[in-house]
């Protein structure tokens, strides 16, 4: 006998043992398979070639937990008629790290991007300084996927990558909803960090456009300040600042190495 399953392999209320009444009151929603399960603190797996610090044990942070002004940034590109929104997202998910600008590393699971995945990042923040942090895949389906940031990341919030159709053309976009995580990052964003972030996503979309066969990719940027107030109650987030911690970890690395060698001998 054939078994019926919902979209994304969602199990019906009957099969997971809900009573008829419970099942009718809250039928299994069609987005059930696209959201990550709840986590309190992140667990970062070891991945070759990446530092992987400042992720394990960190909590996720949204705009409610951030410090700085709240920004909504949209980077949008016309990907033409050659691909559907679903195939554009499939390509983006499968090759996500390849579209990042040089000097930045994204180390996720080999299987692409799925809800609940944790990816490790080494980001170039300027002046030869690297920032080790990570992201969590909050939501992913065939039309979009969303990454959420942990404590210590430059910003508290999420980035949604999506594609849609307008007329015959497919449009791809990255949509960021964020606050700087602490006062130091807020200062950094004001002193050129926003411009650097804009360049980052414009370069990413341009690289994606080239992969999708767009001859001359053009990225439109729209930035809106949703809340100009700073959340001073969250200023203490600076304790987790991954830029400061990465710098300290880099300075301490030779001493840690020496201590390991001494212990081994």
């Amino acid at each position: 006998m054939a078994q019926q399953t919902g979209p994304e392999g969602v199990t019906s209320g009957e099969r997971i043992g809900l009573s008829v009444r419970e099942s009718q009151a809250h039928p299994v929603p069609r987005d059930a398979g696209s959201w990550a399960a709840k986590v309190d603190r992140l667990e970062a797996p070891d991945r070759a070639g990446i530092r992987g610090t400042n992720v394990t044990g960190r909590r996720l942070t949204g705009p409610v937990q951030g410090f700085g002004k709240m920004w909504q940034k949209t980077y949008r590109m016309n990907a033409g008629t050659r691909c559907s929104p679903q195939s554009a997202i499939a390509t983006w998910k499968a090759h996500f790290p390849e579209f990042w600008p040089r000097g930045n590393r994204f180390a996720g699971p080999l299987a692409g991007i799925s809800p609940g995945d944790v990816a490790l990042l080494d980001l170039a923040v300027g002046g030869g300084v690297k920032l080790s942090t990570g992201v969590f895949v909050l939501n992913a389906d065939e039309d979009s996927f969303t990454l959420m940031t942990p404590q210590g990341h430059m910003f508290a919030g999420w980035i949604t990558f999506s594609a849609d159709q307008s007329g015959l053309d497919t449009f791809v976009q990255a949509h960021v909803l964020m606050r700087a995580n602490d006062p130091l990052y807020e200062l950094g964003l004001a002193l050129g960090g926003h411009r650097k972030e804009d360049m980052f996503w414009m370069q990413t979309l341009t690289a994606l456009g080239e992969r999708l066969g767009v001859a001359d990719p053009v990225v439109d940027t729209r930035t809106v300040c949703i809340d100009s107030r700073r959340q001073w109650r969250n200023a203490r987030n600076i304790w987790h600042n991954a830029a400061v911690r990465t710098m300290l970890q880099t300075l301490a690395a030779p001493f840690r190495g020496r201590r390991r060698t001494q212990r081994a001998s």
């Binding site: 929603p29 959201w35 399960a37 909590r59 409610v64 709240m70 939501n139 979009s144 949509h175 909803l177």
Partner: protein, 118 residues
């Protein structure tokens, strides 16, 4: 952008409390509908907005972002946001995104209203 597949009806519950009954899909596309509901509640003098998610059929991260925008707008006016009617699945999403730290979640309308009127 696609047309919003949601309906939001505002009920004034008295003592500056308004209940917004949400039926359908909460995505970024429903921002105009939610903001219209907010303005209707605000015009009625609401100091506390209670969102009824009992009719929620679908929500994506765009919808969560829109709730954050609503929260900012309400906070600016010193209004409180609360919610009830969330299934276990959506309650978990509120907890995962830590939206529950800013929007108080109640099990049902009676407890949401009694907390509001206290």
């Amino acid at each position: 952008m696609e047309a919003p597949a949601v309906r939001m009806d505002v009920r004034q519950a008295g003592n500056g409390v308004a209940v917004v009954d949400i039926k359908g899909e909460v995505t970024a596309a429903c921002e105009p509908v939610l903001m219209a509901a907010y303005e209707e509640a605000e015009a009625g003098g609401a100091r506390r907005l209670v969102l009824n998610f009992g009719g929620l059929e679908y929500m994506n991260s765009g919808g969560i972002g829109m709730l954050v925008t609503l929260l900012v707008r309400a906070n600016r006016q010193r209004q409180e946001l609360a919610a009830f009617g969330l299934s276990d699945h959506y309650r978990e999403i509120f907890e995962l995104t830590r939206l529950d730290e800013a929007i108080t979640i109640y099990d049902d309308e009676a407890s949401a209203l009694s907390a509001a009127l206290r």
